[in-house]
Symmetry: C2
Subunit: 167 residues, 2 copies
């Protein structure tokens, strides 16, 4: 079974892919929603945060076959590969996954007609947008439990850089 | 531009579509990940909650054209249509949207090989699954602001049924 999807918009940012990749907390950018869908944005500017679903179009067929991953983004913080646990791809946010859809929560700074100006974007210029949803209190689950490797890794990151960071 | 996606699994639940639709807090069910992707689930059982991205395959072409919506699910609670504000579709969780991808946070009860037993599912039996992501503390944004209509509607729901509910 195959599903055919027509994107509703595209990511625009003035920085290059490498800059986005290296940024730990995302970059400033714009979500350009195609004019035909502009009506669906009415009122979105009253939410401070939105959820962006995007299709990572640069992920290769080989990369879609990856089922075990390490949080390699953390190598930039001085971790060695051996320190990083290997986990199933669905336990991670890795872009290399069977269906490379990214879920990104960004800060919505302002709307200008069909353009959403956002902060905290970890998507490349040109990435197709599939959907926008508001970030509401229902998305907040307080009583969660996490794997030991996750808690340890998060603690190590905090020790290294002195603050919390998405891993 | 069109994107072709091959689902990684399917929703299984023993209740009918109407039962799922009428349930305010979701139903018990199973996420069946196809055997070829089972390796990617390794360790997922240590997370108490997961994010499920699913393709709402029963949404019609007409329903995909909807750009303004009311939270009609609340009619069940005794709201009148006039009481419900009309908002842009991207300000809502409506299944009727240009790209009908659902984002559902469910409780992961246990894993049995390629089957995830979950609670809080608002998806019909047979719905294709696109991706699974862990629910981690990074998904929790504490400092958010919300539209006035949203806050009012949420308060009205709480007054009507005596508890909070996703709207």
């Amino acid at each position: 079974m195959e599903i055919i999807i027509k994107p509703i918009g595209v990511v625009r940012t003035d920085v290059g892919d490498e800059f986005v990749k290296d940024s730990l907390e995302g970059v400033v950018g714009r979500i350009e929603i195609f004019k035909e869908y502009e009506g669906g944005l009415e009122g979105i500017e009253e939410f401070s945060h939105i959820i962006v679903l995007a299709y990572l179009h640069k992920v290769t067929e080989e990369q879609k076959k990856v089922l075990k991953v390490k949080h390699k983004r953390l190598l930039k913080l001085g971790f060695s590969l051996d320190e990083l646990p290997e986990v199933g791809v669905f336990c991670s946010d890795s872009p290399h996954r069977p269906v490379p859809i990214a879920l990104t929560i960004v800060k919505l700074v302002r709307r200008e007609e069909n353009i959403l100006h956002v902060e905290g974007l970890d998507l490349y210029d040109g990435t197709p947008i599939l959907d926008i949803k508001p970030y509401t209190p229902e998305r907040i689950i307080k009583d969660i439990t996490l794997p030991e490797w996750y808690v340890k890794l998060k603690k190590k990151v905090e020790e290294k850089i002195g603050r919390s960071l998405p891993i």
